[in-house]
């Protein structure tokens, strides 16, 4: 119902942003600032990204205490085990310009729950998690999470005991973060694949906790695109 009460998007058939985007890209290519091939490769690279490697990293850490130690000590090195090379993976071969190569895995315990925000923009570990959700980019989330984390988490459906330490991590410089949530009860004997499936993107940001049988983010309204991306397949 929340989808239907909204006015239709206020854009003309071709928006000013679409015009400007094309103009800037064409000029940059004409002037040799980057090549059309560079742009194509970057789009292709972004299409390969998503939260799956980070979910696998969490599952591996649950199953292997030595790997968990490595993940907490050196997130960049641990990422290699799930196929993510922070440095040489992106087309640049020096990391992505916006996400750098400093990655920390924040380990939840029964007494500590981490949740991530970037109050200054919306820094996010795209290299291992893909593009950030829109709500993560809103000034609202960025304003409130650092000061009223319990209220915001409750809005996401997470209510935590008063004696649990909620640690908000504000990703304000070059380090990017993922949360390593607690392995839920009821998953004894599960395989890495089964465990990976319950570690959703929201669990990795810290606004949800994994549960057996829950393999997707909480259902929320989706604002549709006027001209959605072509994924090429």
């Amino acid at each position: 119902m929340s989808d239907t009460h909204k006015a239709a998007p206020m854009v003309d058939e071709v928006s000013d942003f679409e015009i400007l985007e094309m103009a800037v890209r064409e000029l940059a290519i004409e002037k040799g600032l980057f090549s059309a091939e560079d742009h194509r490769r970057w789009i292709e690279y972004v299409h390969t990204l998503g939260p799956l490697p980070a979910a696998r990293l969490a599952a591996k850490a649950w199953l292997d205490p030595d790997f968990k130690k490595l993940a907490v000590a050196d997130g960049v090195k641990a990422s290699l085990a799930v196929g993510i090379d922070w440095i040489n993976g992106p087309p640049t071969k020096f990391g992505t310009p916006s996400d750098y190569c400093s990655f920390r895995v924040l380990e939840d315990t029964p007494k500590v729950k981490h949740v991530v925000v970037c109050t200054l923009c919306s820094c996010y570990p795209r290299t291992i998690l893909g593009q950030s959700p829109e709500w993560y980019r809103t000034p609202n989330y960025r304003r409130r999470l650092v000061r009223w984390p319990r209220q915001v988490l409750a809005e996401f459906g997470l209510q935590l005991a008063a004696d649990v330490e909620i640690r908000v991590v504000d990703s304000n410089q070059k380090t990017r973060y993922m949360v390593l949530p607690l392995r839920p009860i009821g998953t004894e004997g599960w395989s890495e694949q089964q465990l990976t499936e319950i570690v959703t993107r929201d669990c990795l940001i810290g606004v949800a906790m994994p549960q057996p049988g829950v393999t997707s983010n909480a259902k929320r309204p989706v604002h549709p695109a006027v001209h959605p991306i072509h994924t090429g397949h």
Partner: protein
């Protein structure tokens, strides 16, 4: 590189195969602080740009990790990489940051990073 007519590839050359901030390793000299140090966040004048959140200014926290060396964001924001500094991850008690934070949640904390210029011994 601090000049306008600089080599556009300067960062790519330095960081290729190494990564950023790894490419600044060894350039910041001796770290002034270590894990466990109590630090106060300085309230330097705000002009044009900073990545030191106003909500941390004047607050006292504890260093949990000496993270990396890098030019400060305030300089990199103009593509100047001449003076790398040490960066630290600092944890604060929420009631240190927000006087109205509910007393019943006294364990709650917040962690964020600072370049060395923003810290003083507390």
């Amino acid at each position: 590189m601090s000049k306008n007519q600089h080599d556009r590839a300067h960062h790519a050359k330095k960081a290729s195969g190494v990564g950023d901030p790894q490419c600044f390793r060894g350039e910041a000299g001796q770290a002034k602080f270590k894990n466990g140090d109590k630090v106060r966040i300085r309230d330097l004048p705000d002009i044009f740009y900073t990545r030191c959140q106003v909500y941390t200014r004047g607050a006292v926290g504890r260093i949990t990790k000496v993270v990396y060396e890098s030019p400060a964001a305030e300089d990199e924001a103009w593509d100047n990489t001449d003076h790398p500094e040490w960066f630290y991850s600092v944890v604060f008690r929420q009631h240190e940051l927000w006087p109205d934070y509910p007393a019943s949640y006294k364990n709650d904390t917040l962690e964020t990073e600072f370049s060395e210029r923003w810290l003083e011994q507390a």
